[in-house]
């Protein structure tokens, strides 16, 4: 077992993460639809078992997680069956797919002999490295669910609606205008307003050019 205190997140710059997400989306019909059919992608194309579990969210604030055998994703049963939690669940499953695509090698190198060893290992991973791995999966999920080629025209269309609604000084009305626009775009991609707002900034669409 490697020393967890020396754990280093793999080097995955944003461009590489985007490439992986784009490649996966393009490879399967479930990925080429909008919203991306991420649960079908997980279940049928990547062959993952979705395992609904009671209390995952209630007790731990977790919607889903990838098991170390890389064959199953635990999902909170309530989120799984409740349409109101659909967007969160979709993002969370996309995030777990991100771990599968980006961090397979980490999992392959870990075989805990006991639950105690597992506790000790995770507890000893430096927070900054743990956070970096999580960030990578987060970025993957956003890119997977919000393809930039589809985001751009939706954004242009939402800009026109915003202008018609009276938003014209983008910088002055930054947060309000961004929220207005993201709210209109989000259902198309089956993600939250926050995810769209983040994608618009990351993809350098926001603030709009004068």
């Amino acid at each position: 077992m490697n020393d967890p205190r020396k754990f280093k997140a793999p080097y995955n710059p944003k461009e590489r993460i985007w490439q992986e997400a784009d490649r996966l989306r393009a490879a399967y019909s479930a990925g080429r639809k909008l919203p991306v059919e991420v649960l079908d992608l997980a279940e049928f194309d990547l062959g993952l078992d979705l395992v609904p579990v009671d209390g995952l969210r209630e007790q731990l604030d977790i919607d889903s997680l990838l098991m170390g055998d890389l064959k199953s994703v635990l999902v909170d049963k309530r989120a799984f069956m409740n349409p109101r939690l659909e967007y969160r669940l979709r993002f969370s499953v996309a995030h777990e797919i991100g771990h599968l695509m980006l961090h397979r090698d980490i999992f392959a190198g870990l075989k805990h002999a006991s639950a105690r060893e597992w506790f000790d290992y995770i507890s000893a991973i430096p927070d900054v490295e743990y956070g970096w791995v999580e960030w990578q999966a987060y970025e993957f999920a956003g890119r997977l669910l919000v393809p930039p080629d589809a985001l751009r025209p939706e954004f242009q269309s939402a800009i026109k609606s915003a202008q018609a609604a009276g938003y014209s000084d983008w910088l002055a009305a930054d947060e309000a205008a961004l929220d207005y626009i993201a709210t209109r775009i989000a259902p198309k991609f089956g993600v939250s307003t926050e995810v769209i707002a983040k994608r618009l900034r990351v993809e350098k669409l926001w603030p709009p050019a004068e």
Binding site: E43, L65, D69
Partner: protein
């Protein structure tokens, strides 16, 4: 007709039947009123199939099988072999430990505490017990 090796059982077979139709676990359970946790356990062979013939016939139809077809017979054959069988491949604690997750995203974005990990271990065990 779907072909299986000797290790494949009822759960694997019904999962393949569902996958052939690309009917997600959630959609299938919603459509037919199954509890998704229990159905998942049956597909993963944590739970044995029912012995009751009526239930089996209903399930076979829900999975799109035509009475009398090869897969219909295979479905019933697998169910007969597996019914009442005590799953022999439930994850032992040692094996479970090797499969535990490493990274997971909490709402707060924080690394899980030891208390969180203990709770999680209980939930994972529950997902792997009949």
């Amino acid at each position: 007709m779907l072909y299986h090796n000797e290790e494949d059982m009822f759960g694997t077979f019904i999962k393949e039947l569902r996958a052939k139709q690309r009917l997600g676990l959630r959609e299938f359970c919603q459509e037919h009123g199954h509890d998704p946790s229990n159905w998942s356990k049956i597909e993963r062979e944590v739970l044995s199939p029912p012995r009751d013939e009526e239930t089996l016939r209903t399930w076979a139809k829900q999975l799109g099988l035509k009475p009398g077809s090869d897969d219909w017979h295979k479905f019933h054959d697998y169910a007969a072999v597996d019914a009442g069988r005590i799953p022999d491949h439930l994850l032992e604690d040692k094996e479970l430990a090797a499969h535990l997750p490493v990274f997971f995203r909490t709402l707060s974005g924080q690394k899980p505490s030891r208390e969180d990990l203990e709770k999680l271990l209980k939930l994972i065990r529950s997902a792997n017990k009949p």
